[in-house]
Subunit: 208 residues, 2 copies
């Protein structure tokens, strides 16, 4: 299958969010100018993205919200469930465990892990916090290959080494560290600092 660019994926999920909102409000149709207006991006860009889904709107009324939503879900494989562990049950780990609607996007967080005795056994959004030592056995038992890393910077590499030894193959990295992993492990950096700077450097944010 042809690769979808990261920017297109990003926009499709934003359209999806708008469509969810429209459907909740019982609005049947949406037009590309309406989407363009909400996202402050160009109308032609939106039509180009939607053309990738082989979907054509109706003249004057636009796209059927429910149909377009399903097409985006198919394209981005929301039905293909990925199970993940959250590693680090601090505020960020807790926030992600509670994050609205991850499940709707095919993302199933099945458990959290931490090494603080104070946190073991508590439940966040019906997901239990286990001791990190239990991760290798549980990862194997439930065939979990994805870890969301939300530990403090200082522990990031050490915990990563442990995850790799435990059979984790994909790490969604929320720490500000660049992780050293073998070639067969993939890291996806959620680079908050980078995202913030993309915003400020190129969008003329005023100093103060």
């Amino acid at each position: 299958m042809k690769k979808i660019s990261d920017k297109v994926i990003n926009r499709l999920t934003l359209y999806h969010s708008i469509l969810t909102d429209y459907i909740e409000k019982n609005i049947e149709y949406i037009s590309s100018p309406q989407i363009a207006d909400l996202l402050h991006i160009d109308n032609t860009q939106i039509r180009k993205d939607i053309a990738l889904l082989n979907y054509k709107g109706k003249c004057k009324v636009g796209y059927k919200a429910k149909e377009l939503k399903i097409l985006i879900e198919d394209k981005l494989k929301f039905k293909s469930v990925k199970t993940a562990f959250i590693v680090g049950a601090g505020n960020l780990g807790m926030a992600l465990a509670k994050y609205d609607n991850f499940e709707a996007y095919g993302f199933n967080i099945s458990a959290l892990f931490d090494n603080s005795p104070l946190k073991i056994g508590i439940k966040v959004n019906e997901k239990e916090v286990f001791h990190l030592n239990e991760l290798p056995v549980l990862a194997q038992k439930f065939n979990v290959k994805i870890a969301i890393l939300t530990v403090p910077r200082i522990n990031a590499q050490e915990v990563t080494d442990f995850l790799v030894k435990s059979g984790i193959k994909y790490i969604w990295n929320f720490t500000p560290c660049v992780l050293n992993v073998p070639d067969y492990v993939q890291v996806w950096n959620e680079n908050l600092i980078g995202n913030f700077l993309q915003f400020t450097v190129n969008h003329n944010v005023e100093d103060n």
Copy 2:
């Protein structure tokens, strides 16, 4: 000034993170193959990015870590301080208030806001939580134009309207909603779902 692409900004911050680590370990030089190896990206890409900083490494030894770090900081304007409020003192807001080293990147979070009486007055990483009603006055008093939005999905638009009325000009949106704002307000969507799907859709993450 020529615009730096978002991808370049993203990579420069990752190089910066690696350099910080090298400097902490008292390693004086770093080579582009060493960076390439850690990030699993191509060496030529790294040299191209670093050429944008008008910096040339020394043959065989590479770049001086401290010099390269400063050049990245200048390019990405770490010295130009941006002050921001966090709006929503839930787990995510708390996590961002505690986030390692935002200050080092020129990002100063001066206060948090919430409407829960249980949270007003508590301090997170020396930053106080105020009632949302106090935001307009404090934003004007301290000339704060940036808000980091970490409220629940259900309140996102209502709080956004309030922020716009309070003079906020830039919103870093961590909610999964597309916010409706006037043209003079800029929203930067931290689209976690989109980022996750970029990872899974194009990187052949196995189902389970």
